[in-house]
Amino acid sequence: MIGYALEVAQAALALLLAPGLVGLIRWMKARLQNRRGAPVLQPYWELRKLFRKEVIVSNNASWLFRATPFIVFASAVAVTFLVPILAVPLPFDGIGDLLVVVYLLLLGTFFLSLAGLDPGSPFGGMGASREMTVAALAEPTVALAIFALALSAGSTNLGQIVARTMTNPGAALSPGHLLAFGALFIVTLAETGRLPIDNPATHLELTMIHEAMVLEYSGRYLALIEWAAAVKLLIFFSLLGNLFVPWGVSMALTPATLAIAVASLLAKLVILAGVVAVLETRIAKLRLFRVPELLSVSFVLALLAVTSSFLLR
């Protein structure tokens, strides 16, 4: 029973923290660029504002355009039930493993791209095309990262992976793990539309991907999509944090361990946010057709990860 409560709790936590995470990255970047920057809580205000605004829908759009925000949001939230954010093992662990997580997120991307095409504006099409390209090219890396993890854990189920790593900490520092981590980090940047793949801070530039796709959205729909994006970011961060550096994740569901879990989660998120912020200030955005090169780098990393964990088994 407590398990189910915990599931709901961690989903709620993810939903709550997500906008804050975005805000945190923005704030850190501003700081690193010697700007005062908006407060960390700014995204929350934006969401509230968007929920209050009326929606404008293109007259070309179909029902799909209106359904999409809900699908995207729902799929993102559904993932939060599957990912071990605070504790393992969770009762829903058996519903979906890492592959399910990946394909659920792909479901959101799929519909978002369709919605981008629906109003018939060239920006939407451009965004959709690029989003799907990046998503497709990121797939093999993800799969291989999963392979690497599954190799050491003997399973693709997240609970198993976390538990296995915690039982023998040595695995966490094995080259396979480190390489897989690198690969998955790059993929995270790609999937969540961060620099150097996409620039979340711009609007209406021909280089943008995600923003172009959602250009036609407004009001509560836009709010849902932005929120879902934030949740996605949080999910990837917590995957990076908890799969590769699982310490802190509570295994015995006692209040104390849970408190530790929350704390460690926050710590991991802050660290990762910091890394991203530094990256985004240090490096410029890649030209769109250089992106595949970056992804192939991550692919090679993942391949090395797998083979090394194969041979070092």
């Binding site: 009326e54 293109s58 394909y103 018939g120 060239p122 095309s129 497709a136 093999p140 849902l224």
Partner: protein, 674 residues
């Protein structure tokens, strides 16, 4: 068993009746009779298959009907499963075809079409339950011939005859390989019954050559790269429900045959068999989807996706064969079950997609996506059904495509238990390519659905499109439901498939009890997921969000306005993103493979070269298989032919010279023989 025999009899009787009815009766009545008989046969076949799967064994019939070896039919798990596949798609196609072929009234030979559909279904059903070589081969050629004649239906369209010719050429080449293969297997044993082949003791060389021949023959039928070139030619030009049949079932006969021969008749082989199948499957999966991305002909796109999915199926089977050779029976079962699962899944969603494409073609009269758009408003039901198919083929949970691909993934991951460096190289690459393929597939179907159904119509035909008639919708709906059902009850399906395999040589039944989820306990692979609960969760969340809005009292106002375009007023189809543009980034990424031919011609305004009058940009992609593999072959044949023609030079003296030379040569042989 009595019921089984009854069903078998009904099935074997209904199809010929339908064929005769189609030939005999003209007009709508004939169409109706043909469709009805086909439906009856398909349903009884379906029931028969289901019954045998449930019972785990089926009737075996031998009759001295055919000459030489006689007719021999036997239904085991594998046959029953493929009977089900034939039945499911066949029934849907029969219903759909009734409406679809009405457009042919008076234009093309409907009698031939109706008759051949029944012949096709009959020969497919016979083929999967054949128990000796002659029965199998006869059914095989009957399938090829009937499909060939149906592909030729719209013979006045450009390219149809050529495509049909390529098809029949490949089918027959495959047939030749299969004849050799079976006769090698039966090793002079005259009845050439499968039972005899199972018990035959063959040298490794013979077994290997038989396997290679089987791979050639069945690969050509399945459209495995590089034997696939006929597929994207023949599928588009056929009537759409025939394409559905071809893509959904006919190419699966390659899968059936390969399984029957490798794991049943040959009872598995060395590891390189599996490795080869796995490798070819991987290449097919990737190349298929890559070429599909570049297609703007809706049906050609789907055809290339058939190549991709056949690749996925063969990945599963290849992995299974490989694991079996290493003695990992459970994993082997897992892989092959994954392959079979994807087989029926692909049959359903690809059938659905082809039928949807058929409805679009029926409504707009074009296959070119660049001339479509906005159809979701004009044919909403077709659009919804096509969307279901698109999600399924893109392996989006909780639909069926995801379930089977998940199984294949799990099998490959489990393969890590094999302590072999080459395996350590092959498996990860296979996994990565499979993932890439499915990602690209999703991209491709965003393009296919988005460009075809969304936004503004790009042509008058699309503007005045109309929803498909009821019979066609019914056919599509049944397949869409199958997609959902197969996706939501994977554990049941997997158990059935496992028991289907367990009848064959040394295969443990897949140990999946019926739960809501799909727990796997294979050595080296432990995984679990539950599509039904997943679907439930998604539904709940989809319900909760609006509820939350309502509770939060969020703004409910909604204004419909023009699409925002940097202040430009009024939007025309010309401003839309095209399919070509959509695929451009990937075309650039994989330019090394595509080697597209571009030519850009700009003609400027006579006064100043800063004013462009018109820009013409053309870019084409020629798959290099024809160029690299088949053009040389054709060339050699042509050269040989011209050389032989020169023998018939026309001079009687020359002919007499041949004769004399032959005489003297043979005399010399005879004089000094031994």
């Amino acid at each position: 068993m009595a019921v089984d025999h009854l069903l078998l009899a009904v099935m074997l009787a209904a199809y010929p009746a339908g064929a005769l009815a189609a030939l005999g009766v003209r007009g709508a009545a004939g169409r109706g009779l043909a469709a009805g008989c086909a439906l009856a046969g398909a349903l009884s076949g379906l029931a028969l298959g289901a019954a045998c799967l449930a019972a785990g064994r089926g009737p075996a019939v031998t009759a001295s009907f055919l000459p030489l070896t006689g007719l021999a039919l036997r239904i085991d798990g594998l046959s029953a499963f493929f009977l089900v596949v034939v039945g499911v798609v066949g029934a849907a196609v029969a219903v759909y075809g009734f409406g679809y072929s009405s457009a042919y009234e008076g234009r093309y030979s409907l009698r031939m079409l109706g008759a051949m559909l029944n012949v096709l279904l009959l020969s497919l059903s016979v083929q999967v339950i054949a128990d000796n070589a002659l029965t199998f081969l006869m059914a095989w050629e009957a399938v090829s011939l009937s499909v060939y004649l149906m592909v030729l239906t719209e013979h006045d369209q450009p390219g149809t005859i050529r495509s049909a010719h390529w098809y029949i050429a490949f089918a027959h080449a495959g047939f030749a390989a299969l004849v050799a293969m079976f006769l090698l297997l039966s090793s002079g044993e005259l009845t050439s019954s499968f039972a005899a082949m199972r018990s035959a003791s063959l040298t490794p060389a013979v077994r290997d050559s038989a396997f290679v021949l089987a791979l050639l023959g069945f690969g050509a039928k399945a459209g495995l790269v590089p034997l696939h070139v006929w597929l994207p030619m023949a599928h588009p030009v056929a009537p759409s429900y025939v394409s559905a049949m071809m893509s959904g079932v006919v190419i699966k006969m390659g899968v059936y045959g390969l399984l029957r021969v490798t794991i049943d008749l040959l009872a598995g082989g060395p590891a390189w068999w599996g490795g080869l199948v796995l490798g070819l499957g991987t290449v097919s999966a990737l190349l298929g989807v890559l070429y599909a991305l570049m297609e703007h002909d809706l049906k050609r796109l789907l055809a290339f996706h058939s190549v991709e999915n056949i690749g996925i199926i063969f990945i599963g089977i290849g992995a299974g064969l490989m694991f079996q050779s290493y003695g990992l029976t459970t994993l082997a079962t897992l892989g092959i079950v994954g392959g079979l699962y994807h087989t029926i899944n692909h049959a359903c969603f690809k059938g659905l997609l082809f039928l949807g494409a058929g409805s679009v073609l029926h409504a707009t009269g074009t296959r070119n996506m660049e001339e479509m758009g906005g159809l979701i408003k004009r044919m909403p039901r077709t659009a919804l059904l096509f969307l279901v198919g698109a999600c399924a083929i893109s392996a989006l949970p909780p639909l069926n495509g995801f379930a089977s691909e998940w199984l294949v993934f799990q099998a490959l991951l489990g393969g890590s238990a094999i302590p072999q460096p080459e395996v350590a190289v092959i498996l990860p690459i296979a996994v990565a390519m499979l993932a890439l393929a499915s990602g690209l597939c999703a991209a491709c179907f965003v393009k296919a659905f988005g460009i075809t159904f969304l936004a503004i119509p790009r042509s008058r035909e699309a503007l005045h499109a109309h929803e498909a008639p009821l019979s066609m919708q019914a056919g599509m709906v049944s397949l869409a439901l199958m997609c959902a059902a197969l996706g939501l009850a994977p554990s049941a399906v997997v158990r059935v498939l496992g028991s289907a395999l367990s009848g064959l040589a040394r295969f443990a039944p897949a140990d999946v009890g019926f739960t809501l989820g799909l727990p796997l306990r294979a050595p080296g692979a432990v995984g679990e997921m539950s599509p039904p609960l997943l679907a439930l969760g998604l539904l709940v969340l989809l319900g909760l969000v609006p509820l939350g809005f309502w509770l939060a009292g969020a703004d409910r106002r909604l204004r419909v306005g023009d699409t925002w375009g940097c202040g430009r007023i009024g939007q025309t189809p010309r401003m839309e993103y095209t399919a070509t543009a959509f695929a451009e980034p990937l075309r650039r990424v994989f330019a090394e493979l595509y080697r597209p031919s571009r030519d850009l011609s700009i003609d400027f305004h006579p006064e100043s070269k800063y004013f462009v009058q018109s820009i013409e940009y053309r870019s084409e992609i020629h798959p290099w298989f024809e160029r690299v593999l088949y053009d040389p072959l054709v060339h050699v044949l042509g050269a040989a032919a011209t050389w032989v023609r020169r023998l018939q030079g026309g001079s009687v003296h020359l002919y007499l010279v041949y004769m004399t030379v032959a005489l003297m040569a043979l005399l010399t042989v005879a004089r000094w023989w031994r």
